[in-house]
Symmetry: C2
Subunit: 330 residues, 2 copies
Amino acid sequence: MTITQLRKPHERLAEACADEMNAVNALIRTRMASEHAPRIPEVTAHLVEAGGKRVRPLLTVACAKLFGYSGEDHVKLAATVEFIHTATLLHDDVVDESEQRRGRPTANLLWDNQSSVLVGDYLFARSFQLMVETGSLRVLDILSGAAATIAEGEVLQLTAARNLATTEATYLQIVRGKTAALFEAAAKVGGVVAAASEDEVRALSEFGDALGVSFQIVDDWLDYGGAGDGIGKNLGDDFREGKLTLPVIRALARGDEAERAFWREALERGRSDDFDRARAIVERHGTLEEARQEALAWRDRAVAALSRLPAGDLRDMLSDLADYVVARAE
Amino acid sequence: MTITQLRKPHERLAEACADEMNAVNALIRTRMASEHAPRIPEVTAHLVEAGGKRVRPLLTVACAKLFGYSGEDHVKLAATVEFIHTATLLHDDVVDESEQRRGRPTANLLWDNQSSVLVGDYLFARSFQLMVETGSLRVLDILSGAAATIAEGEVLQLTAARNLATTEATYLQIVRGKTAALFEAAAKVGGVVAAASEDEVRALSEFGDALGVSFQIVDDWLDYGGAGDGIGKNLGDDFREGKLTLPVIRALARGDEAERAFWREALERGRSDDFDRARAIVERHGTLEEARQEALAWRDRAVAALSRLPAGDLRDMLSDLADYVVARAE
């Protein structure tokens, strides 16, 4: 096994797309500037330079390169996707009253909620300007639709929080909105600008969607099953915020009255000091492991969709990425 | 003088564009729906149905009709413009911690800040979907640029608040961002979809910009010179929020040390209980009246731009609208 193979898949993807990703990063820096309001690049840089993995823009670039694309629109669209993502992070941290993101204090803590809301709005607007520059109405349709699905998913998550009646179907809808919609659009627009066939565009769409769903289920798994790895997310955050994720929804359905009373107190009424008990319950019912299995099934779907795309190193790395995403839960 | 002439200009414009405005309102209702998140139409309806004057969508419809436009894109763009406006109101009320808007409690008060942020994001996304449907890249360029200018202006306003060094140039930049950019884009896209000539599109742009600037200067004037008319804005709101508007910026430049100390205490440190003194100062220096004169000068520019557009009833009503906007300050 060579050193290259020991690297993480997103790192190898970034290496394979190094020229494009350098161009993406340069474009992000140029476009986050503001002639009149220095607060904008300050807040944006804090988040953009905190070292996110850039998975979404990587998807766009790699999915265009899969088809030998050699223009510049994939770079613009990758920056677009990262701007949309950054804007949603800024707004999420206000909504969740978060204090840490990517291991650093959040912008709402360092500056204020106002700056996070308005700089997020600015980045949304800039993302639309960037995508308009590609001149592709199909791309505009895909990305504006994704933006609507994201916001809808966030509102749904807000109203489903602390609601024990939340179903698995609602959970999946939230997951699609908060994560899979942008993964899907990121992959899809890469193929669209590269003039992939209709079946290939559908395959990219399925790949991105399934990758995003597995990614989010694993994220939710980590809140109960992870080790609190210091990357900015703590064990039990979702629990304390009253979010009903898959292990909880299933454990609730199988629990006895005492357990239901526990969840009601903890999630509905916010008396969430006994995270250990919550963890013990999802372990005992096996629903934490079931959630991991669900993530694996979505990983399989993502990999299956890849089989309809051009073979080669890039496709292999995308497949490894799908494995890596779920390997975080073990 | 007939009853028709006694009506306010925006009411007469709405009457002249009644079919289109009915279509705009129907489209707004359809598109603010959400299959999965009922919170979205609840929050939106609260604001949309509070009876705003719909000046911005009226501008779009009227400026397309000026050129005899008979398609449907002006209706879509009018709804787009109103969605952008509604989204900014939702976010503004969070940023300003407002409790009242259009004479009703704000959405952030009735629901919560989270809902206002996320529903605003949804409306932004929906507005982009709507404008994409027109298939006009020029329109997309104009409106995405306006959205960026709006957000930039809001950030600038945030960082200029409580800062006594704010210049008139910065004030004008803020006014352009928070108000004139959307007025300008609303008028301009009406002409663009109606295939107006380049000079006519420029005239629409100048008209919208000047109308927006005069509108905002008058709004700021009303905060010191108005009568507190119970339409949701109270005298002294800007003063208490530490906003440096035109009458204050000029009064500051001419005040003695005692006055400067007063403004510093009130605006920078937020000890703003003596609004009567603030009002007396801007009266005494004549800067309140100067601001009104500035608004009149911008009104004149708006009317001058109209002279390059097709003559007729609609143009006359747009001219009356420009008069009406400044007549609020008297």
